[in-house]
Symmetry: C2
Subunit: 107 residues, 2 copies
C-alpha cells in the first residue's frame, strides 16, 4: 500500500527488468524469470519478494511452480498522484528554470 515501497521497488534495474519481462509475458515461473539474468535463483527470488511486498507482482502456486503476474495498479497510482503533479506545470516550470538560470548571469 505504501508509496515508498513502490518507489523503492522500482529503484533497482533488475526489478524493473523483471517487470518488463512480465509485461512482455505474464504468468512466468520463477525459473523462467531467472533465465539469462546472470544471477543466482535466490537473488531473483529476493527481488521478486520486494516486488510482491510493493504489490507490483502477484503470485500463484501451481503444483511445484510459482507463477508471477504483473500488477500495474501501483504504478498507475504513482503516475496519477505524484508524477502527474510535476507534469501539469511542466512547461511553466521549465520556462521558469530557464529564466532563473540564464536570466541571472548576464543580461
Amino acid at each position: 500500500m505504501s508509496m515508498d515501497a513502490v518507489f523503492k521497488a522500482l529503484a533497482d534495474p533488475v526489478r524493473r527488468q523483471l517487470l518488463d519481462s512480465l509485461h512482455a509475458r505474464n504468468g512466468q515461473t520463477l525459473g523462467e524469470l531467472c533465465e539469462g539474468r546472470g544471477m543466482s535463483r535466490q537473488a531473483v527470488t529476493k527481488h521478486l519478494a520486494v516486488l510482491e511486498t510493493a504489490n507490483l507482482v502477484a503470485t500463484e502456486r501451481r503444483g511445484r511452480e510459482k507463477l508471477h503476474y504483473l500488477n500495474p495498479v501501483p504504478i498507475h497510482e504513482i503516475a496519477d498522484r505524484w508524477i502527474g503533479k510535476y507534469e501539469r506545470g511542466r512547461l511553466d516550470a521549465l520556462a521558469a528554470l530557464k529564466r532563473d538560470l540564464e536570466g541571472q548571469s548576464d543580461g
Copy 2:
C-alpha cells in the same frame, strides 16, 4: 541522463519531500530546504546532491546562498517512456490478473 539515477533518487522519501517543497516554492536556499526537516544540514546537502546528479534539481550560487530549482523533465521522461507502457495495457492486464488468479482455483 541515466534513468536509473532518477529512479534511485526518487526512492527516498526525504528526497521526494524536497522535490515537493521545491514544487511548492521554487528557488529555495539550502537553509530554507533544511528547515523543519529534523536532520542535519549535511544530510540534506547529500540528498540534494543525489537529486542534482539525477538532474532533478539545478542549482545556482547567489552570493553566499545556493538556490535550488526543480527540473521536472526527467520525471516527465520516466512517465513517458516507462510508466506509460504499463498504463496503456492497464485494464487488460488487470482483467488478465483477475482471470488468472481467480479463474484457476475452482472453476
